[in-house]
Symmetry: C2
Subunit: 231 residues, 2 copies
Amino acid sequence: MITVLLIGKGNVATHLYNAFLKAEAINILQISSRNLSKIPKADITIIAVSDDVIAEVSSKIKNNFVVHTSGSVRLNDLKNKYNKGVFYMLQTFSIDKEIDFSEIPFCLEAENEKDYNLLKTLALSIGQKVYSISSKQRKTIHVAAVFVNNFTNHLYKIGNDICKQNNVPFEILLPLIKETSLKIEQLDPKNAQTGPAIRKDQKTINNHLNLLNDDQQEIYKILTKSIQNGN
Amino acid sequence: MITVLLIGKGNVATHLYNAFLKAEAINILQISSRNLSKIPKADITIIAVSDDVIAEVSSKIKNNFVVHTSGSVRLNDLKNKYNKGVFYMLQTFSIDKEIDFSEIPFCLEAENEKDYNLLKTLALSIGQKVYSISSKQRKTIHVAAVFVNNFTNHLYKIGNDICKQNNVPFEILLPLIKETSLKIEQLDPKNAQTGPAIRKDQKTINNHLNLLNDDQQEIYKILTKSIQNGN
């Protein structure tokens, strides 16, 4: 039996709490980060709070092994006295959408093998995909995630705008969006590329630019150039 | 029974031919675009060839009703004598990947209601999603598709590059990519946006820029600016 103390009441903390409740080998306690006067003992203390208060919250914890759940905060930014670690789940969490933890990559980091194995056991009690990821690697994963999640979502938003401006329902693009995202499970994205940029079809590119506003044109040109440069 | 003549032997033509073969109400014939000396009669003649030869191929056809399958060619670029139309399927076709036609949006255009209804019956014989789309709308759908398909795929490629450079397996990003693409089936992409750009978290943005090469930085900055401007 692993005793886990979860600090935080936000999005990630709530999803984690519900998952640990169902795990038989886990004894889960949860407290708010605003109430740190009497902190219960636990084998693992998970701080699931905003990045900018992780250092402060961690400095008040005297438990043995303290981890945070952030993609962009270093292990050494934890200010607790004893052992430190990271329990980062690489996924986008929405409060009202159920999470399938078996699909989520757990990016784990610890200062020694014993702690790492404990984190691994914890992750496998609710999930299936475990990766050993250093603070440096995690930082770059976080940037890569901005490209494939936030920036990709912005391209969906531009597609939506273009549809709206021409009285076309956005749903018409959804099967293409889905296929594009599934294709790279089988193909390297570089080899999956199609379209006017990679074909250097300047006639179609010019036609497209004529249909776009200034902001859309700027993005269209830069991404076309980057595709053509193979960057 | 609708008799369909399919001209072309490429990717789209091959997938279409196999689908029509299974449709009971369709009598399908297929010929190569290089062999137009003796063209069989048909209720609908579908030209599924490269954009730049559609005009030439169509000029040689004397059948009643001729359509093309292109996203970026106008109805009036067909040069056959009689009725014209468009039978555009909004999807990315790979030769060795099976296509689920029930998922594909059929974007149809014709010069009169009778022809349109014939195209609709044809589309529904192999698919389920039918849209009436003008040449002008189809042009803009094609641009939107470049954003959500080609450009999105390029962001996946950059994510892949960043992972490779840091010895992280790209598969770690696949669940996030999948969730990002599925989220917008329920949420407007504008409302689905998260991350440092929309939060105006300049500290994280600066950290990210320090990890990127020049080309990646340029794309990061422009997309961040566009997200922040709400464009």
